[in-house]
Structure formats: C-alpha cells, structure tokens
C-alpha cells in the first residue's frame, strides 16, 4: 500500500488568530501614516469627465488588429472614396455629345403649363 502520505494538518486556534489580528490592528491604528495610505485606497475621489473620456478613448483605440498582429483576416475595406471612371470611349465624336439643356434649341410646341384645380374656379 504505497499511497500519498497524508499532509499534516495545521490547525491554528481561533483565539490565537483573533489575538494576532487584534495586535496587528492596534499596531496599524498607532501608525497614522500607514493607516492614511490604506484609507486612501478605499476612499478614492469620484472619476472626473476626463477620466471617463480617457477610458472611452482607451476602449476605442484598441482594434482587433492591434491585439492580433498575425491575423489572417483582411481588414474591412474602407468605403470607396475614389471616383471610378466610367467606361468612356477613347474618341468621342462631337456630334455624339448632347448639348446641355439650357443650350438646346427650343423646337416644337412649348412645354405644357400645368394648372392645379379647376380653371373655372381659379
């Protein structure tokens, strides 16, 4: 029967533990510098708007790629801002270009005049 030897149990009487804690507390009470430092840990001031902004910026600043430089994913393509040239023939004949609307000669009947409502009542 080869087994793992049982670990010795270390039992500390609760009275001794309480006494040790009491002595430590009394020691700390008599050391105002230490007590002040520890108290400051539990009484931090409220966060300022700058603190909130800094945390917000910190969250937004870390992209996935900044954590994973070896990523196999390609970053999302940026929206195409460049103007893609349309398929324009190499030689454009002058006749093929329509004149702008303002320069077009008025031919035929004039544009119809739209009227709202019953003309007899207007």
């Amino acid at each position: 029967l080869i087994g793992k030897p049982s670990e010795p149990e270390i039992i500390m009487p609760p009275e001794s533990l309480q006494l040790a804690l009491f002595i430590l507390q009394e020691f700390i009470k008599n050391e105002p510098a230490i007590a002040g430092e520890i108290k400051s840990l539990f009484t931090k001031a409220d966060p300022t708007p700058n603190d909130w902004h800094a945390l917000r910026a910190r969250i937004l600043a870390r992209s996935y790629e900044s954590f994973v430089p070896a990523t196999a994913l390609t970053p999302a393509p940026a929206p195409a801002l460049a103007i893609v040239p349309a398929a324009v023939p190499a030689v454009i004949e002058k006749e093929a270009i329509p004149a702008p609307l303002a320069e077009q000669p008025v031919t035929g009947s004039p544009a119809p005049q739209w009227q709202v409502g019953n003309p007899a009542l207007v």
Binding site: Q25, L41, F67, A72, L73
Partner: protein
C-alpha cells in the same frame, strides 16, 4: 534578498488592507464603483485579447474562428462604450437640479440595460476564447 523583502512588504500591505478595510469603511461612491468596474473589465478584455493574439501567432486558427472572435470583440467594444455614455448621462442628469425624475429613471434603466449587454458581451468573448483553449 531585495525581491523577498518586496514580496514580504506586499504581503504585509495586502494583509493590512484586508484588516483595515472595516476600519476605513467602505466609502466608495457609485460613480467610482462603476468606473472601477469598467476599468477592470477593460483590463480583463485586454489580457484576454493579448492571449488570443499569442494563440493566433502560434497556432494559426482558421479564418472562421478569427472572424468569430473579432465579431465578439467588436460587439464588446460597442457595448462598453454604450455603458460609459449611459453612465455619464445618468451622472449628468442626477447632478442637475432641474432634471425631471422620469428622465433620470429612464436613463438609469438604459444604463442598467447597457451594463447587462456589456456583461453578456464580455462573457461571450471570454467563453469563446476558452472554447478555443486560449490561456487567459
């Protein structure tokens, strides 16, 4: 020897702080508690994502796995920012003297909802990384 002394000093400080906490009292304000919670969550996320970065460099997981993690991370980012915005909104309304109570209540509900969403997003991301056996 210096390191041992530093460790001893650190252990002493931790013990002292644990003992003194009842003496000092718990004076943390809700704003400070919320800020600390958000800051702590961010530190957790950064540590987890750094672990994922090491994992990717070493094991080269599939693009589908990476896409899942990236989506979960970006979801958490948006949720965390929403919490910060909601928190500041509540704080601004609460500190204003003429804010209608209904507005404060609505903002508080929105803040609670944002915190819930952020907690879910954080849990999802950490759970996803653990499912890939990433050391966090």
């Amino acid at each position: 020897m210096k390191t041992v002394n530093q460790i001893c000093a650190l252990m002493l400080m931790v013990s002292i702080s644990l003992i003194l906490s009842p003496l000092a009292g718990c004076n943390t304000t809700p704003q400070r508690a919320a800020f600390n919670a958000e800051q702590g969550a961010q530190v957790t996320i950064e540590a987890a994502m750094n672990g994922w970065g090491d994992y990717v460099a070493q094991y080269h997981p599939s693009a589908a796995q990476e896409a899942k993690v990236k989506a979960a991370y970006e979801k958490y980012q948006l949720a965390a920012v929403a919490v910060l915005d909601a928190e500041q909104m509540v704080e601004a309304l609460a500190s204003s003297t003429n804010s209608p109570p209904a507005a404060v209540q609505t903002a508080t509900l929105q803040k609670n909802d944002a915190e819930h969403q952020a907690a879910i997003a954080l849990s999802d991301l950490v759970g996803l990384l653990r499912s890939f056996n990433v050391k966090i």
